[in-house]
């Protein structure tokens, strides 16, 4: 074999290997049979050219380009959207994408690979037109949340710095309060061990027992009858005021029968 042939073979092998590598990485695609769609975002959450596009979790295309368009407005709503992401979608998956499909930017895997997820639309809605601009769902701004929490933390710090004297005073007062509370608890503990207190508690217990016995007796039928009798007596004595007694004593005298 001539050296030229050998070198030629090697060159071709290298060329094929480069093309295969580019195809595996998604840099080249031989069957560009996809349809293009333009998705508008105001925040794209780190998506890149070449990131996969998925419908129902299946890869159906990739991000072709990312364009900044400062003066773009959505044709339907008139909303200002400044970022247009062009994506290609396989023809097979195209009919599942409808007017009511939603376009999310998601994370996958432990390394946080970004991808564009399309939710399938319902059959009642018409299919999208190739090249149509649709509004994507802006992903949540984690960085913004973090920066906001930093701002809150900063304000707390600022408040503490500004009111350093009063904060320290409050803390000192709280400290004193705790110390006093502890003292009180100790005193209470000491007191509970006093024999006099023990006696007092015992007496109280006896009184309470007696009280319980009394109230128990009060609930008996005999006691109920007595209470009812007293009640009736009181009712009968109710109209008995100063005048009536005077009249009674003057008119009836001591001969009067009480009942």
């Amino acid at each position: 074999m001539k050296p030229q042939t050998k070198v030629g073979i090697l060159f071709l092998v290298a060329l094929v290997a480069v093309v295969a590598f580019g195809y595996a990485l998604g840099t080249f695609s031989f069957l560009a049979s996809g349809k293009e769609l333009r998705v508008a975002y105001n925040f794209a959450g780190g998506i890149e050219v070449g990131s996969p596009v998925r419908v129902m979790g299946i890869k159906v295309g990739k991000v072709r380009s990312i364009d900044f368009q400062p003066d773009f407005k959505m044709p339907t709503s008139g909303e200002e959207v400044k970022l247009i992401i062009s994506i290609s979608i396989d023809k097979a998956a195209w009919p599942t994408i409808r007017q009511d499909s939603r376009f999310y930017i998601n994370l996958a895997g432990v390394i946080g690979e970004k991808f564009l997820e399309i939710s399938p639309g319902s059959l009642e809605n018409p299919e999208l037109q190739p090249g149509q601009v649709v509004r994507g769902e802006d992903p949540p701004r984690i960085d913004q949340l973090i920066s906001q929490s930093y701002a809150v933390a900063g304000k707390i710090l600022e408040f503490v710095n500004k009111n350093e004297g009063s904060v320290i005073e409050t803390i000192n007062t709280l400290n004193k309060l705790v110390v006093n509370f502890e003292k009180m608890l100790k005193q209470l503990e000491k007191t509970s061990r006093d024999p006099e207190i023990h006696k007092l508690v015992k007496n109280l217990s006896v009184i309470l027992e007696d009280g319980a016995y009394f109230t128990q007796n009060m609930r008996s039928s005999e006691a109920q009858k007595t209470i009812a009798l007293i009640n009736r007596l009181i009712q009968r004595l109710e109209p008995l005021d100063g005048k009536a007694i005077k009249k009674f004593l003057q008119e009836e005298g001591i001969k009067a029968k009480l009942f």
Partner: protein
């Protein structure tokens, strides 16, 4: 030492002039290209495959030790292979195989006064000896670095399937998260630069060869050492420059 650098600067300038101006000798270039690339392929493929196996196994071991998980190994092993391992290993092998051969060949010609004979015939020895080898090594370096990288990656893919149980699809998906096409392009550029260093350094030491078998041996040794060190230093410079392009 200063004389050595002065001589190298003159030699480099003359070589550059000869390289950039025709005529070229295609037959000689292809013969050298066959020697550099075709004949080096088996040994380079064997060595980079071994390097790939070691890379995958060691990375997996370290990742399991540190984060109890080796799912990221295919991705960053692929990146390591493409950015450094494939091209540096193949270039160092090329230095020891081709560089030593060139230094010995030119050194023997110098000792046996064949270089002087060429001058007497009105032939510029640099144009006659260095230019075809330079062109062959540059193109050979590109071809070999590309093939070595992709063979190394393929071997890494096989090893990660057999050793760690990651399927080919998982390997490629993980690789796509880290690797870009320009990594291979930069590997090709590095291969070309390393390929250029080998004949320049080897022929320089060959031209400076002292008389006797001992002189040829010394020239060969010096050329391999100097070319290896140059490749490692150049690798650092190129890696630093390419870091601005990411």
């Amino acid at each position: 030492m200063i004389n050595l650098w002065k001589d190298f600067a003159v030699y480099f300038w003359r070589s550059l002039n000869a390289i950039l101006t025709p005529p070229y000798r295609p037959k000689d270039i292809f013969a050298q290209l066959e020697f550099v690339s075709w004949q080096s392929i088996p040994i380079i493929c064997f060595c980079v495959c071994s390097a790939a196996i070691v890379t995958i196994i060691e990375s997996s071991f370290h990742m399991k030790l540190v984060v109890q998980n080796d799912s990221l190994v295919p991705g960053f092993a692929a990146l390591l292979i493409l950015r450094e391992l494939g091209v540096v290993v193949s270039s160092l092998l090329l230095t020891s195989r081709v560089g030593a051969g060139l230094a010995a060949e030119v050194g023997s010609m110098q000792v046996t006064e064949q270089i002087d004979a060429l001058r007497m015939l009105g032939i510029d020895p640099i144009r006659f000896l260095v230019v075809p080898r330079f062109i062959a090594c540059v193109f050979g370096g590109i071809i070999l670095s590309v093939i070595a990288n992709l063979v190394c990656l393929y071997c890494a893919m096989l090893v990660s399937e057999m050793k760690m149980g990651y399927s080919n699809g998982m390997f490629i998906t993980s690789m796509r998260a880290f690797v870009e096409f320009k990594d291979l392009v930069f590997a090709g550029v590095k291969g070309a630069c390393f390929g250029a260093v080998i004949p320049l350094v080897s022929c320089f030491f060959g031209f400076r060869c002292q008389s006797g078998a001992e002189g040829v041996g010394l020239a060969t040794t010096n050329s391999v050492v100097a070319a290896s060190v140059s490749i490692i230093v150049l690798d650092f410079v190129l890696s630093y420059l390419f870091s601005f392009l990411y």
